[in-house]
Amino acid sequence: MKLSRRTFLKSSGVATAGLAVATAVPEKFLLWAEEAGLIKATYVPTFCEICFWKCGAIAKVLNGRVVKLDGNPVHGNSRGKLCARGNGGIGLLYDKDRLKSPLINVGKRGEGKYRKASWDEALGLVAEKMKGIKQQHGPEAMALFTHGAPTDHFLPLLSAYGTQNVGMPSFAQCRGPRDVGYELTFGEGPGSPERVDMINSKVIVLIGSHLGENMHNSQVQDFTEGLGRGAKLIVVDPRFSIAAGKAQQWLPIRPASDLALLLAWINIIITEGMYDRPYLDQFAEGFSDLAQAVSHCTPQWAEQETDIPAAQIMETARMMGQNAPAVTIHPGRHATWYGDDVQRSRALAILTALLGSWGRSGGLFMATKGSLTKGESKPFPEPGKEPLNTGGYPFAGAEGVTQAIREATISGAPYPIKGWFVSGTNLLKALPDQKRTLEAINKLDLLVVVDVMPMDTAMMADVILPECSYLERYDALAIGKGKSLSVSLRQPVIKPLYESQPGWWIAKELANRLDLADYFPWTTYEEKIKAQCVTAGISYDDLKKLGSLTIPDTAAPYITPENQPVFKTASGKIELSSKELKEKGFDPVPVYVRHPQPPEGFFRLTYGRSAVHTFSRTTNNPALNELYKENEVWINAKKAQALGLKNGEYVLLINQDGAKSNRIRVKATQRIREDMVYMVHGWGSTPKELSRSSLKGADDQGLVTRYAVDPIAGSTGMRVNFVKLQKEA
């Protein structure tokens, strides 16, 4: 017998057969009945929402129940594979702790006392309050916090309502400064998925990017494929990450000193003449300013700052130089570390440019030429007041500076914010300085949360609107901008469980009650998508059957004589020295400034990902919780011994401002520097409704009472807190 990949097309003919009412086969006999051929499985393609990578998935439905999720082989982000979390999506679908019906708060805010309500009552209440706020304070007094797929429904709703105050944690707490840094250099960001051509790299450089633990599916596939094909790996990380375990060169850098290393590398590449001169001559400007500005950044100088031996800095720089341009300097993703994050990202971009890697095989490839028109919509009202979402930061993006809206909510200046609409984000976990978030929430007249789980922020809401999971709904088409343009469909695999409803339905129903029905002129979301497909010239039927379509002839990844890059910077060139920054009074070439290091007895608090969880959202997912039930605090084994701490024992973390964590287990390990501790982000949720994860592990965010705002983009550096460990009393 020959093994071939699933020929799922044949079997997925009846895409929505899973919707058929479940027959009476008891669950116990399901597998047996399938084996015996009594019932046939159906396969429905859709895409994943356990994180934001949007991998194509194919759901196997047996007797009305989803029993397996497989990767969709024709989908570029999954290529037939799902990560552990994507595989565990069924755990969310059947989590008994899900939000099941609309809930209205009957106690004080945050008390968690709710009563069940009908959709009509809950939506009516929300609409009434939103109307009230609009009347009294104007529509700008409502703010939207959103992340992920729900954004496609609630951003139009709130825009139609008349506010542009929107904050997504994906900017100021995540990719914001990175994207700004690359935009200032190349005129565009590195994309999401990042356009890293690791498959073809000869050298891959990860600077704090912990791929493997950071489980962005296709990117990790490319990473291992690149390594499999012989790429050399350089990992800069103060912790011996999974990626570091695969590296030829591991640089356990002193936290917060990455910029020094990068400037030294840039300096070596320049002084040893390893940069791509013709490439720079053609595409870049500001070289001599750059060379001048970094000339003092010698390896010896960097050794002092970074704790990395000068010889290793030299050797790694040469590894890059000798293999250019097939070198991927990974732009990173979660970039909000120390408040100088735009400049650090700039340094990454500059290094990429010097090596000639932008637009070259094995470096960073160029975005697809193709594009898709979004469906027409009635134009949204012009804002009456200046939106607050850029927070006054000169380069902040439209995704918004979340904490700026929060601060305005507390101060009431420049104008009052009275209502928050929250969808798909757990603000208490996502934003630094939790106390401020709570303070802001307590000032509100209205807090509405659309969520699937009773997470921390949802359990603060006046009204909780239960969205169904991604496996039970339509959402906006996902437009993929990898090498080629692609379009993917999310469609319901089964009907919504309980009384939960899709986000589009909630938005539309609210619009009806807010007299905004004109903005939602379709009756079902499928109808809207179909219309969009017609406009774009895509076959909806194919999309429904296949789940994802790649538009042919849209790839132009590398620079060729015919395919010349366009840099949308001020100068139209790669800006090694940035005019725009200079104009706004910032350093045109990044300048290293030493950051404070932890005082005696304290450790720098750092955090990252577990391969089997997504932030807080999966902590209660039964399929994933069983693999990792609570986070641990990593501490250097020697330090642990000195403190008399044993592996597995519980401690409390106390930060420089006296903030105390929930109890957390010690992981005493050789895999980390002595000046820091590390933990997986997203734990220590408080709602007791989370039967598995309630009060399990510690919440890093509770300890991030300080944050360093990047003056260029307004993003929040969150690794600037110091903690000590105390044995549990």
Binding site: V220, T224, G245, L624, L627, E674
Partner: protein, 186 residues
């Protein structure tokens, strides 16, 4: 007659656990029980460290002590393709096979009482699919195929690298091969 085998290229494993979750869903494995697992081993002292990542499952031994020790014939090695399988309706749940396996590859299904373990997803092989863990392996660390077919991925993988088996001294003659113990290139 295929001779199924798996090659695990440890250099490509990233300990993402996709295999672990996929296997559970595919095979209806009860909560807190597993047919496959992933080990992370780190040796040395900061900063001189070495990491080994290794996924483990039933080795479908050619000399399977679990089969020999089964008193009812519930455990057997299938003649046509060498997969070690279980006739669930014959199993008495005596656990002799669990004790006999040097790889701790078996467990007793705590919902149903029978012994259970990896089947190389033989039900998927029948449909022409790869085992679930292989299909979803993010690192392409798990490679599956027919040892008798010179073009199969397992043969190709084994040709190009040195491979070992686990606990060779146990005399079990495993059909799961491991490439390159230490993921860090020496």
């Amino acid at each position: 007659m295929p001779k199924y085998a798996m090659v695990i290229d440890q250099r490509r494993c990233v300990a993402c656990m996709a295999c672990v979750v996929a296997c559970k869903n595919e095979n209806d494995v009860p909560p807190e029980q597993y047919r496959t697992r992933v080990l992370e081993m780190v040796e040395g002292e900061f900063p001189q460290l070495r990491m080994e990542l290794r996924s483990e499952l039933c080795n479908h031994c050619d000399n399977p002590p679990c089969v020999y020790n089964c008193p009812t014939g519930a455990s057997y090695k299938r003649k046509e393709d060498g997969i070690v399988l279980l006739r669930k309706n014959r199993c008495v749940g005596c656990k002799a096979c669990v004790a006999a396996c040097p790889y701790d590859a078996r467990y007793i299904n705590h919902e149903k009482g029978f012994a259970d373990k990896c089947t190389f997803c033989e039900h998927r092989l029948k449909e022409g699919k790869e085992p679930a863990c292989v299909a979803t392996c993010i690192g392409k660390s798990r490679i599956f195929g027919d040892m008798d077919d010179p073009k199969s991925p397992v043969r190709i993988a084994l040709q190009n690298s040195d491979a070992t088996v686990l606990l060779e001294g146990a005399g079990t003659r495993p059909r799961v091969y491991y490439i390159k113990k230490f993921s860090k290139p020496e």
